[in-house]
């Protein structure tokens, strides 16, 4: 058992996979540049984590997710350090469902995105309620205020806000990664450990 986990980690984190993990981290932090330039109101800040979960596997995705939050902190946003648990959950969950073949079908991706969103909301709610009292100065804060003014506790309000917003963001993330990996070129397919769980046009 332990041996097989070790093998799995070695496979997902081979020297050849390192640049892809690094790129995923950079994508997590840079995708905002594209959505910003196009004025699309989504975060998609776990796009890279999901991509590496699908192409490499859960371990690689956890590494990519955690390190991109550390890197974000190093680059001037220390609050990202508090949100490691949801990132880990995204990596593990996506890695598992990708291996089960969920990224072969758009309908399963929508389902996966919804579950992922609920999971992420559940994990980040206690953090943002406890540390930020629900205030992040983000666009979704008005929802928290709305719930709180209707008599819900801070935790409940943050949770409801997350349950409303996160699934949408994660469904889009999943669908984007689904479209990205649906038709990988044949010559890439053999070079990613996770690609055998995708439907590809590969020759």
């Amino acid at each position: 058992m332990i041996q097989s986990v070790k093998d799995q980690i070695r496979r997902e984190m081979s020297g050849a996979a390192l640049p892809l993990i690094a790129f995923s981290m950079a994508l997590n932090l840079s995708v905002g540049q594209i959505t910003g330039a196009l004025k699309i109101p989504v975060y998609l800040d776990s796009l890279g984590t999901v991509l590496s979960a699908v192409l490499l596997g859960p371990w690689a995705a956890v590494v990519a997710g955690c390190l991109s939050n550390v890197l974000a902190a190093a680059l001037g946003n220390p609050t990202m350090m508090f949100f490691l648990p949801p990132m880990i959950a995204i990596g593990v969950f996506t890695g598992i469902v990708a291996r089960a073949g969920w990224f072969r079908k758009s309908s399963l991706c929508i389902l996966g995105g919804v579950i992922q969103g609920l999971l992420a909301a559940g994990l980040s709610a206690p953090i943002s309620a406890h540390l930020f009292a629900g205030t992040t100065m983000g666009g979704a804060d008005f929802l928290v205020v709305f719930f709180r003014s209707h008599g819900y506790s801070i935790f409940e309000s943050v949770l409801f806000q997350g349950l409303l917003m996160d699934p949408v963001d994660k469904v889009i993330t999943y669908l984007v990664v689904f479209s990205l990996t649906r038709n990988l070129p044949g010559r890439l397919v053999t070079r990613f450990p996770g690609a055998s769980h995708l439907s590809t046009s590969g020759e």
Partner: protein, 251 residues
């Protein structure tokens, strides 16, 4: 179709001009080559052509439209520009779909037909249903040229279209361009491959630190090879070798 650039200045940052007082005219059916050292401002000019960048001074008119005030999506219907790196644009699962992207965006009614013509012209018919990244790098370069051709614009502008290509692909491009030329299309080509494009060209511009250092009809150029060398453009090894042998046999 025409390009007319008058006194164009451009700089990314104030104080370090990339282009200065750049003036040129291109009329229908012409083919202008632009040569010069790396960093002379050649690629920048291509981005000014379709309004991605706007001149800091002066004006560029494409078919009478001022690039400073016309949106890029509209200018794209008049001038198709390709950049050096195919990786910047390729995203479709098949070669055919990739080429269709341009004409679809421009709402060309005969998009399918234009795509077929472009595929034939650049020898990609047998590769039409393959993934672009399953092609060789040289074939991807042909694909970007085909993508531009299929947009059915009167003017085509290329950045180093033959960079890294072997004799075989260069001949495909040369035949393709000849055919497009007889259809009345005009070209603006940024290149180091002078030897290859000279037979097609009507005029050559030499750009040196943002200014037009030399401009002459193509036929005149071979006689002024020493001028080219001064601006970092060299003739092919064998041409130079033959010339050297000539000098040797005379002395």
């Amino acid at each position: 179709m025409s390009i007319s650039a008058k006194g164009v200045d451009f700089s990314y940052q104030t104080g370090s001009p990339v282009l200065q007082d750049f003036t040129m005219d291109l009329r229908r059916g012409e083919c202008i080559l632009m040569v010069g050292r790396n960093g002379a401002g050649k690629s920048t000019f291509l981005k000014l052509l379709n309004g991605i960048l706007k001149p800091t001074k002066g004006e560029i008119y494409i078919n009478g439209r001022n690039t400073a005030t016309t949106p890029t999506s509209e200018l794209a219907g008049h001038v198709a520009v390709t950049f050096q790196n195919p990786g910047d644009q390729i995203f479709s699962p098949t070669v055919r779909k990739e080429i269709l992207f341009g004409p679809r965006n421009l709402r060309r009614e005969n998009a399918e037909e234009l795509t077929d013509r472009a595929l034939t012209l650049l020898g990609l018919v047998s590769k039409a249903s393959r993934h672009p990244y399953d092609l060789l790098p040289a074939e991807r370069k042909l694909l970007t040229i085909a993508s531009a051709v299929a947009m059915d614009t009167p003017l085509l502008a290329f950045d180093e279209p033959t960079g890294g290509l072997s004799q075989y692909e260069r001949e495909i491009i040369s035949n393709g361009l000849r055919q497009l030329k007889t259809d009345g299309r005009s070209f603006f080509i940024v290149t180091h491959d002078l030897d290859f494009f000279l037979p097609l060209a009507t005029q050559v511009l030499v750009l040196s630190s943002g200014r037009v250092a030399y401009s002459a009809p193509a036929a005149e150029l071979v006689r002024n090879a020493h001028l080219l060398r001064k601006y970092g453009v060299t003739l092919p090894l064998t041409t130079r070798l033959l010339r050297l042998l000539e000098i040797d046999s005379k002395s």
